[in-house]
């Protein structure tokens, strides 16, 4: 198991290198000159070619691409993610300001989807064909189809504008004003979690049903166990194995969803930062955000692999 984790860690490191390198090349290949965007149209007129060269040198844009990449990687290992081209601020600081916001909303959505989705799926599987199963399954089927940004707008309209129950825009840190922060996060968290909640429910249901058909469950029944004991001791642990994979996959999805949710609810998180940076061709920010996202996703996958070993002895003993 230890060797396995080390092998996965090395693999993860290479994945991160490939990711950042791909993005690095991609961003450099973009049409448009970031220096000109930095200066803005008015200033561009009045800037000489020499001054432009000077600026390129300052941002390190004059060197060969491999050198630029190597410099960037070395910088990152020292905590230097470079400076934003459009704002001039330190990229690491910008990420440090926006990532906690995304993590706050994202982790609540993640927890919500697991805490509601797994029990809902289990209940559906146990009471298959019943009314609860039918209505929950229908809702879950709708949940994986609904566009998050549209759902956010529906919520804003009904709960924000019409009923005026909840604030509709912005973000407040729970450390500044816990109650306001809670009220502001309800709609974004719920919107962000809808897809993952629905797919957790669906997957839990089908995974449980798959396990219930297995021979060893019949063995468990034949021992005279109660239904509760059969489910808790025999079905659950086996049925959860595919759910762990799914939840790992959801970490990535939540980052994607936060791009849209943060746009709809005007939340200054990392998703919003990424969208703005991409539109502004602000390489250092895109680069930094990409690295952060990939890092968290890769770490989540690593956690999935480790929990696999914990859940399934057949893997642990390999």
């Amino acid at each position: 198991m230890g060797a396995y984790i080390i092998r996965r860690l090395i693999q993860a490191f290479f994945v991160l290198l490939i990711v950042t390198f791909l993005i690095f090349i991609a961003m450099r290949a973009l049409p448009g000159d970031p220096i000109l965007i930095f200066l803005g149209e008015a200033e561009t007129e009045s800037t000489t070619e020499e001054q432009l060269q000077e600026l390129r040198k300052e941002f390190g844009l004059d060197k060969p691409i491999m050198v630029q990449y190597a410099n960037w990687v070395i910088g990152v290992t020292r905590g230097d993610f470079g400076e934003s081209i459009s704002y001039g601020d330190d990229v690491l600081t910008m990420i440090a300001e926006s990532l906690p916001i995304t993590l706050h909303i994202g982790s609540l959505a993640f927890i919500l989807s697991a805490v509601l989705g797994i029990p809902a799926g289990i209940i559906c599987a146990i009471r298959r064909g019943g009314n609860i199963d039918a209505s929950v399954t229908l809702t879950a089927n709708l949940g994986i189809c609904v566009p998050v940004f549209w759902l956010g707008i529906l919520f804003i309209y009904f709960f924000g504008l019409k009923l005026q129950w909840l604030p509709i825009q912005g973000y407040t840190s729970p450390f500044d004003d816990f109650w306001l922060s809670f009220r502001k996060s309800i709609m974004p968290v719920f919107c962000l979690s809808v897809f993952t909640l629905a797919s957790t429910t669906r997957q839990t249901r089908s995974s449980m049903l798959e396990v219930i058909r297995q021979d060893y469950i019949r063995t468990a029944w034949s021992k005279g166990l109660k239904e509760r004991e059969v489910i808790a001791r025999h079905v659950l642990k086996n049925g959860l194995i595919p759910i762990v994979t799914l939840k790992g996959f959801h970490v990535r999805l939540l980052f994607g969803g936060s791009v849209l949710v943060e746009t709809v609810f005007n939340i200054p998180g990392m998703g919003r930062l990424a969208v703005d940076a991409i539109f502004n061709q602000d390489y250092p920010i895109v680069q930094g955000v990409a690295l952060m996202t990939a890092l968290i996703v890769v770490l989540a996958n690593l956690l999935v692999d480790i929990s696999y070993g914990w859940l399934d002895p057949r893997i642990r003993y390999q």
Binding site: D215, Y216, R218, T219, W221, G224, K237, N238, Y317
Partner: protein
């Protein structure tokens, strides 16, 4: 000897998307105390389903026990709710079962200790330590070496034959009155088969329990079973003592089954004869004898009259057969 379990007119049906399957269609049999019986028939004849019905382990839907009584210790087991307290105290406690597939019948993510001790805790009210000691004793008894340690292993660390030994130990752990062995050796290789059957009959004798062997292989049961029931298409077509059935088989199906089993006690090189034709289609069966299309003895009466009930043959034995023809 006293009758321990008596099944009367059991009917179990499955509602599939292709039609109604009458898997068990009016089956009656009994088991005496400390007796070994065998239920023999080819795949799909309903022999396994009839046993799962006793334990009410038929998955519903699609399956359903529609009729019959199962008398055990003076009560009808079918009166109990499928997963109710009474039925659960029977399962594993009074009647235990060993399934066909040792590779898939143990939970892959739990240690043997957890799987073995749970029935001891429920039925005998043992505490953790006591149950563990008892479980490892049982493992030793079924021939698992180093049971003290190996009880902490997971099923994938055992071979198929070993797993079936574990299943036998688990099934017998609460001193059941009846052990049902549902094709216990079909999935294993021939040498292991013999060892396991020997082990099972030994253990059952030690525990003073009765044994029901469900199998498609007449050769397997010849040595062990006192009485035999031969099933075909959801019904019992012949029953009697081993001596009666092996000595003077009367139903054409039994005769055919015996003709395709090799025997060691025969001098001449008898040819093994396969049964011609296909097993019956269980959906929309005609009311006549289901063996008719494959039967070499069939008469006009067989085609006209409904499937006959079991009738007792002359003599003072227990030989019953459901056939019009006097073979």
């Amino acid at each position: 000897m006293a009758v321990l379990l008596e099944v009367k007119n059991l009917k179990t049906q499955f509602y599939t998307d292709r039609g109604l399957v009458k898997a068990v269609d009016g089956v009656s049999y009994h088991i005496d105390e400390k007796e070994t019986i065998a239920i023999v028939g080819e795949s799909g004849c309903g022999k396994s389903v009839s046993q799962l019905s006793i334990m009410q382990l038929i998955q519903s839907p699609p399956g359903k026990i529609v009729d019959g009584t199962i008398l055990f210790e003076g009560r009808d087991l079918l009166e109990y709710e499928a997963n109710g307290d009474e039925m659960r105290s029977i399962r594993g406690g009074k009647i235990a079962i060993v399934f066909q597939e040792p590779m898939t019948s143990l939970n892959p993510v739990l240690t043997l200790e957890r799987q073995m001790t749970e029935s001891l805790k429920i039925h005998l009210g043992m505490e953790k330590e006591e149950a563990r000691t008892r479980a490892s004793e049982l493992l030793s008894a079924v021939g698992i070496p180093d049971a003290e340690k190996r009880i902490d292993d997971y099923p994938h660390q055992y071979s198929g034959g070993m797993r079936q030994r574990v299943m036998i130990a688990m099934a017998l752990s609460c001193n059941p009155k009846i052990l049902i062995a549902d094709e216990p050796t079909t999935a294993l290789d021939v040498t292991t088969q013999a060892q396991l059957l020997e082990l099972m009959t030994d253990m059952v004798a030690r525990f003073k329990a009765s044994l029901v062997i469900v199998t498609h292989n007449l050769g397997v049961v010849a040595r062990y079973a006192q009485r035999l029931y031969v099933m075909y298409a959801g019904r019992i077509v012949e029953s009697g003592t081993s001596k009666e059935i092996f000595g003077t088989p009367r139903h054409p199906y039994t005769i055919a089954l015996l003709a395709c089993v090799p025997r060691l006690d025969e001098e001449d090189d008898r040819k093994l004869v396969p049964i011609t034709g296909m097993p019956p289609n269980l959906i929309n069966m005609a009311p006549v004898c289901a063996f008719l299309p494959r039967c070499p003895y069939s008469t006009e009466k067989c085609r006209q009259e409904p499937w006959p009930d079991l009738r007792k043959l002359d003599g003072d034995g227990q030989h019953y057969v459901s056939c019009y023809v006097d073979t």
